[in-house]
């Protein structure tokens, strides 16, 4: 019973860590991309930075945070956030920018303001792509949250690493099985959500 309470606690911690970071990632990424609609320089900077972080191995991202901001929960959140930024940024960017130019042109022509075009044309067009990015980011956050145990993020990762250092198979499984479970649950629940949220006109194409 002690074990299961411990697992539950670690799982909740893990969840909290991963999704605080994911939420932070969304809160940072989406406005950044929206702003880069107005500035080509910002757009290219945002994309370059996200690609750079993506190119660095996850483990290195987690490690490099330590000398910069130390260890603990917040650095772990920041490390995960940095890592999940790219899929969200990239997909949001693609969704917002890859809009049929005729749509923008006619929306402008009938008298929509820039803001109304983002709100009524670009964003609805981008939802499926943004959502796919968030789904990918969620799964990524889950797996990196395991690594951040090394820098004091806690959660299931701590259990796994403890198990590994002590050759404690039960502990390893107690850590890994929930992680795998969470991953499967995420994939499933996001797929359901995705089907629900996909606009009518795109359903035939899927």
């Amino acid at each position: 019973m002690v074990i299961s309470a411990e697992i539950l606690e670690a799982t909740l911690e893990h969840f909290f860590l991963a999704y605080t970071a994911l939420l932070a990632g969304i809160i940072v990424a989406v406005p950044l991309v929206l702003l880069s609609l107005y500035s080509e320089r910002l757009a290219s900077m945002v994309m370059k930075f996200s690609n750079l972080v993506q190119a660095v191995p996850s483990f290195a991202v987690v490690a490099v945070v330590v000398p910069l901001i130390g260890i603990g929960f917040t650095p772990a959140v920041i490390a995960i956030m940095l890592r999940v930024l790219l899929p969200i940024v990239k997909n949001t960017y693609i969704g917002l920018f890859n809009v049929d130019p005729a749509l923008i042109d006619s929306a402008k022509g009938i008298g929509l303001t820039e803001f109304q075009i983002i709100r009524n044309v670009r964003l609805p067009n981008a939802y499926p792509a943004i959502f796919a990015g968030i789904k990918f980011a969620a799964i990524l956050a889950n797996s990196i949250a395991v690594l951040t145990a090394l820098i004091g993020g806690g959660g299931l990762g701590s259990m796994i690493f403890e198990g590994l250092t002590n050759f404690n198979t039960a502990k390893i499984l107690a850590g890994t099985l929930p992680v795998i479970g969470i991953a499967l649950f995420l994939d499933f629940s996001f797929s359901v959500l995705e089907r629900r949220l996909t606009p009518e006109y795109l359903k035939n194409d899927i």
Binding site: G109, Q116, N125
Partner: protein, 375 residues
């Protein structure tokens, strides 16, 4: 945002010395053009001739580098672009219906942004759908992808008309449709054009479309206006080889639908007319004196007759008057289409007809002369 239209009717749209360049290339160069209120002005030219740029400078989708665009005398630069565009209908070839919105939401989008209430929007959308011949009950709730190309184009027009703008800008609206559908929509558009009573600027590269729909046609080439005129003027007085090539004026018969009887009639010497009540005997004398081989009779009823010297001679002293012995002559109003005129001549087996301008004789239409003129 409470919206007031910037103008309720168009007196004129004037482009003065307007230039727009992209890098080294002139999109429009020193253009002077005036669109009169109530007319349908066609801008025609090859791709890259500047016609679309010209159109888009009217609703400020493009701002000129120099020169002035004004509507009813007011510089468009002084208007807020969003308010300006909401006062002007805009239809493009790709239509640009928003795929995630239903037909009714697409048409009502601007109305909603303008803060109309739901019931009023619905009423207006219903009215517009009826206007473009799409039954509202079956189209309201469809999505754009569930519509054919022609239906989408109608919705595009309905959306442009939502705010009841006095001015419509149309950029090759029928360009993407197959020929049969295009003809159908052009025919319908011709009809509703009159009902609409709006000023329309219409870009096309299809000369048949231009002549079918346009009151006046502006031919553009190489960023400049080459010639501006009615279809008839362009066919008969092309100012250059290029115009002649574009309107295909060497083969005028292509334009029989566009040309009017007036364009091909021969001027008429009033000396040919004799009073219908004249007895044959006196008429004979007049014709001999005047050297006339043939005479025409015009009755108050608008009918006309033709009589040759021989026939007058034969009638001789029977005491009959010209009205009784003349043969009926076909009569066309001057603005009848040449095509109809020729068809009727052929059906009746006649070779000539009298052309009336405002009810008075103005000229004669000879089938052989017409055919010669058309080749």
């Amino acid at each position: 945002m409470k919206f007031k239209k910037l103008f309720n009717r168009i007196e004129s749209i004037r482009l003065e010395k307007v230039t727009k360049r992209y890098g080294d290339r002139f999109a429009v160069r020193d253009l002077d053009l005036e669109v009169r209120g109530g007319e349908l002005m066609i801008l025609i030219g090859r791709s890259g001739s500047g016609k679309t740029t010209t159109l888009r400078m009217i609703n400020r989708l493009i701002d000129p580098d120099s020169g002035r665009v004004s509507i009813n005398g007011a510089d468009v630069e002084d208007f807020d672009p969003v308010r300006l565009r909401r006062s002007i209908g805009y239809v493009i070839q790709n239509i640009g219906l928003l795929p995630h919105l239903k037909v009714s939401e697409n048409i009502g989008l601007i109305l909603k942004l303008e803060g109309w209430d739901e019931a009023k929007i619905r009423e207006r959308v219903t009215e517009l759908l009826n206007f473009v011949s799409l039954p509202p009950e079956s189209f309201m709730d469809r999505y754009p992808h569930q519509l054919s190309g022609g239906q989408q184009q109608r919705i595009g027009l309905a959306r442009a008309l939502a705010m009841d703008p006095p001015l419509l800008l149309m950029d090759e609206p029928f360009g993407a449709l197959d020929p049969l559908l295009r003809t159908q929509l052009q025919d319908e558009f011709c009809k509703i054009k009159k009902e609409l009573g709006k000023t329309i600027v219409f870009v096309t590269h299809d000369v048949n479309e231009a002549f079918k729909l346009g009151d006046r046609v502006a031919i553009m080439d190489n960023a400049s206006l080459v010639q501006l005129g009615t279809p008839e003027e362009l066919i008969f007085e092309p100012s250059s080889e290029l115009v002649s090539e574009i309107v295909d004026s060497k083969r005028k018969y292509r334009h029989m639908e566009v040309l009017k009887v007036r364009d091909m009639m021969q001027p008429l010497d009033p000396g040919y007319f004799l009073e219908g009540s004249l007895p044959a005997e006196i008429a004979l004398q007049k014709m001999v004196d005047g050297g006339l081989e043939v005479a025409l009779v015009f009755k108050e009823s608008g009918a006309a007759g033709r009589i040759s010297l021989n026939e007058v001679l034969k009638a001789g002293k029977t005491g009959k008057n010209l009205n009784e012995i003349s043969k009926p002559l076909l009569v066309f109003p001057a603005d009848a289409s040449l095509f109809e005129g020729l068809t009727q001549l052929k059906e009746e087996g006649e070779s000539m007809a009298l052309v009336l301008e405002e009810g008075m004789p103005a000229g004669l239409l000879f089938s052989d002369r017409v055919l010669q003129g058309l080749i």
